[in-house]
């Protein structure tokens, strides 16, 4: 039903974004003005100073929304809906460059050849250290050392420029000229020429940014897009060619052959004189294997003389400059409007990475929320919050215990020879108790939100009903304080999730287990707050009541209870918050319905829009409860903080 609005989301989100910024600026000026005109002389620390200030509420809410719209890139999408598509083409090019780029120290780190060299030398040093410790005979020792020296020489054979053969050098030159060619093509206005009919058709088929699950339309659709797309394709072949280049100079190859023979002869030598110590034998075999492994890696020929690739690097830097140049304003738009991430081109599609990925756009979230709020759709075939017509009998079944029919004397009727059953009083009572009778239907709320709400309320209800009296009792009686204190204090710090495995086997998968978990959380908080309230009553008040002739019960009802009410209500406020916090964990135990269930399932599909929808629902419901509690506190205990 909101699809109509979604059509114009760019306009709407853009307007809202600017309006929010304007609001924040206005509120700041308004607030400053207010301070200047205020004539109250409340000193610092007077709670009066914190009253009012609704404009700051607006500022706070606006600031959250601005951060959300900005970091989810909703604003970026609103002001330039084509940006993602173009950045996707840019991403394709940088992804194509990456295999070459990552071998150079352009961003951070060493030249790839350097780090390979360091790595192999480190391994060789390790092996050289081992030679003395492996109980080799002198002949074996010298052979092993010789092999290691040869290996070092082979590596030098790759790094010294004099051995680099002209064929390899020519290949590098070719790569350089190809990259330079691509750079000049990028600079060329007419590159790559007019788009083909297929490309135009593909561009027309592009959805808008974020329209479908395929977040970002991948086909190029603008002159700049065509250019980068074509360049990416060319770059891919260049990168493939580059990765095929090996340092295969004849000197190095000869050394590798020699080394292979050397290692083989060392191997036979080692195996010929096995020795007695099994561990030592294994270690010596490992030594030879280690040598072979280093050789195999060196054999890949990925190390070149230090300056052999300089031209490739500078060509790459030039290309990078040119492609940045070609991006033009897009680059600044990306940096300014799409913070905390980038658009990355994968093999299959382009995707938002960083905050764009895990923070869905408010407009998308709202649409998802609207979609799953539709009772026909819901989540996993169950609405979020809707009503269901339920027969009145079900409620009777719920309230009236079934065993009352067993209390009625007599037997249940049997069928007669004609196969007819005549009901008697006992069977009628049973039908009534099990709700098995014709009844009118009443609308009852149902859905994920309602189920969660019910669980929290039930947990809270039992927590208050049992926790408050026990807390008061513990504050007033030596016995109960001593008796219950260790119990409560022992279980209170245990995180609710730690109970989960037990609760599953005790209560099963029904609601009772989840409610019990929430009850445990609420109970401890209520006991502690009621106890603090009871012990915190001023002794003078109790004495006054006592000397006026009040009975114990009167003191409890008229003095201690009212005095501990502020603490108890604060306790309820905290308990509500913690219960909401535990709900997701409780519904993870056995997910059938509920907001926590929705979140747990959506998580497995990385469906961040639904995840955020559930987070917002949880937050809003928590806020709603808290506002209600604040109202209750203000209304019913005006003496709070004044006694």
């Amino acid at each position: 039903m909101f699809d109509f609005l979604f059509e114009y989301r760019g306009l709407i989100v853009g307007t809202i974004f600017i309006a929010l910024i304007a609001t924040v600026i206005w509120a700041i000026f308004y607030g400053r003005n207010l301070i200047r005109t205020e004539r109250t002389d409340a000193v610092f620390g007077n709670p009066e100073r914190a009253l009012g200030g609704w404009h700051w509420v607006i500022t706070g809410v606006s600031a959250i929304l601005i951060v959300w719209i900005y970091f989810s890139w909703d604003a970026a999408r609103a002001f330039n809906p084509k940006a993602a598509n173009e950045l996707c083409q840019v991403g394709k090019l940088s992804s194509a460059i990456n295999p070459i780029r990552s071998t150079f120290p352009l961003d951070d780190g060493f030249l790839k050849g350097t780090s390979l060299l360091v790595r192999e030398n480190k391994q060789l040093n390790g092996l050289a250290d081992q030679v003395e410790r492996l109980g080799f005979s002198d002949a074996e020792k010298s052979k092993a050392k010789e092999t290691i020296d040869l290996m070092r020489k082979a590596i030098i054979g790759m790094t010294s420029p004099e051995f680099l053969d002209s064929a390899t050098d020519a290949k590098f030159k070719e790569i350089v000229s190809k990259i330079d060619g691509l750079t000049s093509k990028l600079a060329d206005q007419n590159y790559p020429g007019d788009p083909t009919a297929e490309q135009i058709a593909a561009a027309e088929k592009n959805p808008r940014w974020g329209d479908s699950g395929n977040e970002i339309p991948a086909a190029p659709a603008s002159p700049r897009g065509y250019k980068f797309d074509a360049a990416a394709k060319e770059m891919k072949t260049i990168a493939t060619d580059f990765s095929k280049i090996r340092n295969n100079n004849s000197n190095f190859l000869a050394q590798v052959e020699k080394l292979k023979g050397q290692i083989a002869s060392l191997d036979t030598l080692v195996q010929a004189s096995p020795g007695t110590d099994e561990l030592l034998v294994a270690n010596r075999a490992d030594f030879v294997k280690g040598l072979t492994r280093v050789l195999r890696r060196v054999d890949d020929g990925n190390i070149f003389p230090p300056d052999a690739l300089n031209n490739v690097q500078s060509a790459l830097v030039n290309l990078d400059k040119e492609q940045k140049n070609q991006q033009g304003g897009l680059r600044y738009y990306d940096a300014l409007m799409m913070p905390g991430g980038e658009i990355r081109a994968g093999s299959n599609s382009c995707s938002e990475q960083g905050s764009g990925r895990w923070l869905p756009k408010p407009s998308d979230t709202l649409r998802t929320f609207a979609r799953i709020s539709d009772p026909e759709i819901g989540y996993k075939g169950y609405p979020l919050l809707w009503y269901k017509m339920k027969p009145f009998g079900e409620m009777v079944d719920f309230i009236v215990p079934d065993f009352i029919s067993s209390l009625v004397p007599g037997h249940y009727p049997r069928h007669d020879t004609n196969g007819i059953v005549t009901p008697n009083f006992k069977s009628k009572v049973r039908d009534f108790a099990t709700g098995n009778f014709e009844s009118f239907k009443v609308p009852m709320p149902s859905g994920h939100v309602w189920d969660s709400l019910l669980r929290v309320l039930a947990g809270l209800f039992f927590g208050i009903i049992l926790g408050v009296p026990l807390g008061l009792f513990m504050g007033l009686s030596r016995f109960s304080k001593g008796f219950f204190d260790p119990l409560i204090e022992l279980y209170r710090p245990v995180p609710p999730l730690a109970w989960a495995p037990l609760i599953l086997t005790i209560f099963g998968i029904g609601d009772d287990g989840k409610i019990f978990l929430l009850f445990m959380v609420a109970f401890a908080i209520m006991v502690i707050s009621a106890r603090t309230g009871a012990t915190g009553t001023h002794l003078s008040k109790i004495h006054a009541a006592h000397s006026l002739g009040a009975t114990n019960r009167q003191i409890l009802r008229k003095v201690i209870l009212p005095n501990s009410l502020p603490e108890i209500l604060t306790g309820i406020r905290i308990a509500i918050g913690v219960c909401w916090g535990t709900l997701v964990a409780a519904e993870m135990l056995a997910g059938t319905t509920g907001i926590g269930f929705v979140e747990n399932v959506a998580r497995k599909q990385s469906d961040y829009e639904i995840i955020w929808t559930t987070i917002i629902i949880l937050g809003l419901l928590g806020l709603l409860f808290d506002l209600m509690m604040r109202w209750v506190i203000d209304k019913f205990i005006p003496w709070r903080g004044k006694g």
Partner: protein, 324 residues
């Protein structure tokens, strides 16, 4: 107060340098599962990977394939060993830049649906499951197994009450009789389920019904672009470990210890596993119209949602060049 500030300052600097240190390391980070016995765990324990790659290989265990994807997207994991096909397909549908480079494990009975003895349901009267509860981890390979089994037996999945539970929890529910059937994976969970019930379909029956599942080796696109030789070495070491184990099973205790299973359970789990060689993978899995080409679109459609619809073409997320 001043000392407090000092302490706080020291702590924050320490935390900062710790994060810098982890992000600057050039180690290879590999995700794997516990309770999932594979021959390459011998190579893992004996540090063959580290030696062959010349880098430090960190193995981090995960509870689910989805968590592996999340870690790969945040850049903490480079290679996921034995990720399920279901989380992989879900990730691809959600545009995650990851690639499949090989098959890790092929299994028949390692994902199973166990129906409780108390319910009296067998494959003959499987439709009685309609209206009953089934515990399973939704959107995983076990979910795939469940749907395939139900379709095969003619049960309407919409009428079955699904309870989303991790396999270990699902086993508890099945043993307690809270559900009529439980689906899951992991040898410890499955053997606990089997205490209270029997598999709905036997392995030969599943093969006949076309329910075969395999786990894959997936890598992030960035890693495979920048370190193709490391991926190649990883595949070679894995291949070698599989071949060695096929010849000589004396080191099974190492696998058991690393997987966190007893030796018997390891044996019974590995009896249901096969580890196809590179040749077999290329011939049967990655060939044109092979199992990968068949399964990816099928599962892609099965798990598609409004937010992440199925892709038209899954071949671009498959790269079998490292098997050659």
């Amino acid at each position: 107060m001043k000392s407090m500030k000092k302490i706080l300052g020291c702590v924050s600097i320490a935390a900062l340098s710790a994060t810098m240190a982890t992000s600057a390391s050039a180690d290879v980070n590999v995700a794997y599962f516990l309770e999932w016995a594979t021959p390459n765990q011998i190579a893992k324990v004996e540090k063959t990977y580290d030696k062959a790659m010349g880098e430090k290989v960190n193995w981090i265990n995960f509870a689910s394939g989805t968590a592996m994807t999340e870690a790969m997207l945040s850049g903490d994991i480079d290679i996921a060993f034995s990720q399920g096909l279901a989380p992989f397909v879900n990730a691809v549908n959600a545009n995650a830049p990851i690639k499949m480079v090989g098959v890790a494990v092929v299994y028949g009975g390692a994902n199973d649906c166990i129906v409780s003895n108390a319910s009296g349901i067998t494959k003959e009267n499987a439709t009685e499951l309609e209206g009953k509860s089934v515990a399973l981890p939704l959107n995983t390979m076990a979910d795939f197994e469940f749907r395939m089994t139900m379709t095969n037996l003619g049960v309407d999945v919409k009428k079955v009450k699904l309870v989303d539970q991790e396999p270990a929890d699902a086993a508890v529910s099945l043993v307690d009789g809270a559900v009529a059937m439980a689906c899951g994976y992991g040898e410890n969970s499955l053997s606990k389920m089997k205490e209270a019930g029997k598999p709905m379909l036997s392995v030969p029956e599943k093969t006949e019904a076309g329910i075969n599942s395999f786990d894959i080796i997936s890598v992030t696109e960035k890693f495979v672009q920048e370190n193709p030789e490391a991926v190649k070495t990883f595949m070679e070491v894995t291949e070698q470990a599989n071949a060695d184990f096929a010849k000589d099973q004396s080191k099974i205790a190492i696998i058991a210890g690393d997987a966190g299973l007893s030796v018997e359970k390891t044996k019974s789990q590995m009896a249901g596993f096969s580890f196809p060689s590179a040749e077999v993978q290329l011939a049967n899995y990655f060939n044109d119209g092979g199992k990968v080409a068949e399964m990816l679109p099928f599962m892609g459609k099965m798990f598609a949602t409004e937010a992440s619809p199925a892709k038209d073409d899954y071949s671009t997320v498959v790269d079998s060049s490292f098997l050659k």
